[in-house]
Amino acid sequence: MVELTDHPINADQITATVTSPNCGAVVLFLGTTRQFTDSRETVTLSYTAYAPMAQSQMEKLEDQAKARWPVDRCVMIHRLGEVPIGEASVAVAVSTPHRRDAFEAASWLMDRLKELVPVWKKEHWATGGTDWVHPGLVQSSEENRLQ
């Protein structure tokens, strides 16, 4: 199950969704908003997505994880819009018969999600500016601070 949502992420609902009587292990990963990035203070983050592609990329990742590990149930949720400090922007959860597979599959899904799912983060700095986060993109700092 994959989802893009404007609402807060509920851990209990996710773990209840993936828990299965065939499985002994559930791993949930939450990516949460940090207040400080290299000593710069963030007041909030916002996320935007290319929604149809983000959805289909996440569905593909779910299929690939299920082909590679004995994953019974899988949930991937990315929150969009403003995500206040300390709240979760992303959740990945899987259930498997044994725990090693659950840790591996959840970790793999997060690595791939961060590489392949078209979602973008904007930092809103305590000092007032904003920055789109585009890892590795070469640009002048003025260009990255248009809004």
Binding site: G31, Y47, T48, A49, Y50, P52, M53, A54, S56, Q57, H78, S89, V90, M110, L113, K114, E115, L116, V117, P118, V119, W120, K121, K122, W132, V133, H134, P135, G136, L137, V138, Q139, S140, E143, N144, L146, Q147
Partner: protein, 81 residues
């Protein structure tokens, strides 16, 4: 033919719009979309080399053909998670 290209995040801000239309030859590829975008929106030129492209919700390399009916997207480096 005319193709429409969706823009996101920084590329959207630099272009001041979330979609542009490009006039391209019939046998155009993603590489032509790149160069067409750079010409139409000079502000994008510096960052396009770092952007990926998608055609119909799939990542597409420079040699991938594009058609007028395709949904084309310019994707700056992603930062979800």
């Amino acid at each position: 033919m005319n193709v429409r290209v969706k823009l996101f995040a920084l590329t959207q801000d630099l272009a001041g719009t979330d979609e542009v239309s490009l006039a391209l030859p019939e046998d155009a590829t993603v590489a032509d979309v790149r160069s067409g975008l750079a010409k139409l929106v000079p502000a994008l030129e510096a960052v396009l080399v770092g952007c990926a492209f998608a055609v119909n919700n799939e990542f597409a390399t420079n040699d991938a053909p594009v058609n007028a009916s395709d949904e084309i997207a310019c994707l700056p480096p992603v930062s979800g998670g």
